[in-house]
Amino acid sequence: MNEVLATGRRTVPRWMATPESITAALLVVAFGVSAAFVPRFLDAAYLLDRSSLYMEVGLMALAMTFVIVAGHIDLSCASILALVGTSIATLHVKLGVPLLPLVFLAPLLGALLGGINGVIVAQLGLPSLVVTLATMALYRGLAQVLLGDHSVSLPAWFTGIERVAIAGTLLPVPLVLFLGLAVALGLVLHKTVFGTWVFAMGTNAEAARYSGVPVAQVTISVFVMSGVFSAMAAMIMISRLGVARYDHALGLELDVITAVVLGGASIFGGRGTVTGSVLALFLIAVLQTGMGVANVKAEYQATASGALLIVAVLMGNCFARFRKWTASKGEGSCSGS
């Protein structure tokens, strides 16, 4: 590794060292390799169908990008998904509440659960890691209390959203929804006042506060967003699976965080892009799909994912050091003259 980086030093232009371009390049190569070496990988219908497996992670990763750029983390997103899913299904199946209004109620419930995280973090100044670790257990536990180990089936008309394609195309609805929201959130993060505040807060929360950024409100907002997107993911997941269970999306928060960090966001905040997260999500999807069709065992896939996360961050650190090194060189030569 080191040799590679050492020889590469002088040849890589600075723009290529941006985190998203690394992710994009990895994506292209992963896709190319899978297409070339894995039989039956290159099949549009299959790939689009399998992409549905990642849309829940994707939706949560969009919101998680905001959370992480703002300098926080939300470990409870997958538990919110489970709790919202089980609550909505229970309300419908056990209490007979019509499903359609419930689908629109779901984001509100998600907002409430995310809001609890946000208020505790913002008002008490506790680390989001610990707070959301607690609510991760709490929300998942409540879902389990609600439904026990039972699954609740949903009516046929509601199930199978991932098999509904946009008219005239093969594109499944969740994929289109995800891409649409990705564009929207990308614009919000990079083009609006709110996005600027998120970046400012993640870069230096104190300085942001001194500069009139409503830090508490922004903190609560990003957690509410995370809750809302987890709730949307919940609706898609229970539609896709046709049932709601307390253990849905168990451990999925790891995939979500992996996607965001792999997409170049700094876990310390202040750096990250929606594009990066989207690219990283597709990178994970392509790698897992490729390995799956190639019959690589699940355990190798898990190891590869964990290693990928660490390697991505290590590479980021190397690039940062490299940039600093070139900068200090420049400084040295300037003042030496």
Binding site: K191, V193, A207, Y210, S211, E331
Partner: protein, 505 residues
Amino acid sequence: MVIPMGEQVPLVKAVGLYKAFEGVDVLKNASLDLLPGEIHALVGENGAGKSTLARIIGGVHTPRAGTVQVNGRTVHFHRPCDAIAQGIALIHQEPLTFPDLSVAENIFIGRQPRRHGRIDWNAVHREAAEILESLGVKIDPRAKVRGLSIADQQMVEMASALSQHAKILLMDETTAALTPSEVERLFGILRQLRDRGAALAFIGHRLEEIFEICDRITVLRDGEIVGQRLTKETSIDEILRLMVGRPLAALFAKDVKHAIGSIALETRRLTCAGQFSDITLQVRAGEVVGLAGLVGAGRTEVARAIFGIEKIDAGEIRIGGQAVQVAGPRGAMKKGLALVPEERQRHGLLMPMSVWQNTTLAIVDRLARFGWRRDAMARDVARIGVKRLDVKLRGIDQPIRELSGGNQQKVVLSKWLATKPKVMLLDEPTRGIDISAKAEVHRLVSELAAEGMAVLMISSDLLEVLAMSDRILVMREGRIVAEFPREEATAERVIAAATGQVLRE
């Protein structure tokens, strides 16, 4: 001027040190000898490079060029523990304590006395008590440091340095937070150490203190050593002249010709428990009010309370004659307040971001339409700010961290000017910036006052306060203890009020 060194071999010999931060030279070709049995003062304005010099010798920073010799041997310090191993103790400007550990542990951390391979707690507490006793402070060595006053924490650090039995002791503004009696006690200890043959370096601002305790004075200005004098052969005036580098009269002074308007900012019996109490002050439109006092007197806290950062326990704030509730900086901003904070990098700037983003951070929502940023407008605002303050940069897209301290400060100022405030709170606006930027800031403050802005300026730079203020308020231990109109203010009177000494005239 050549000063006879005698026969003594210096304990520390620094030769030709260079250091730069973020592309800004903070130390240029600095050389220094610390002799055994001598207390050596390092003086200079803020940002002159005194702390950097001490920190290089203390192993905190690595110089870009130059060498440090200890006992005649060249050493290369990469981290503080390398210097500590050589018998060098550095006491920092702000106390470096571990709040949840006991006083005794804070003194001995990393060097606890051991017996049979395990820490001998009895010895730790006994020795800590002895050292504290010798310093004459009444602190329980078993008490946690959390909750001690800044002065006590400073004493704990002093005790830690003494416990190292260091031959070389570097003190960076150690007395700033101490009361006169504590200072006297400290000086007694320092003299003892000197008499035992230690080499001491003393960084300070109060020249009277320095003339009292130090044997030799080195003056730094803009990162360079501009002079070295034996105390007994020089005068305060001469040192001041060396520090400033120009006759005092050349310092930019506020234009006092224009009229002063109605009250823009007023506080009535403002109190914040443990920080300050009963602060009543008024700042009129077009007026510059200087807030002087020692470090830790509560001045920064007052500014922060007015700006809504610190919670107020009692009293009221009136803006433009109206009593207001300031809910956080955002609320303060909406009411026409602006605060240029003391710690520029920590509270004022987003270091990785560009100049234009920093300039327009406070008004990003004002420039927006339906939540959408309008970057073209923001960049125009930034360009105007850069032009007005004459910020030196490659372009407004340059990251702020690449700018020099003075230019960074100008960007902070232009950020707040962009909010079009009625009242400006300036907390140490010229700390750590070079002379030309300082003059620029002074010119701007004067201009703003002439345009009718009310300015409350906190500064530890006495010359600045005297030159810029229409009125000077002096704080000591959380209270306003004196007020001088411009005509009556002198350095001696302000210092006397700030330190609580009776001045005989």
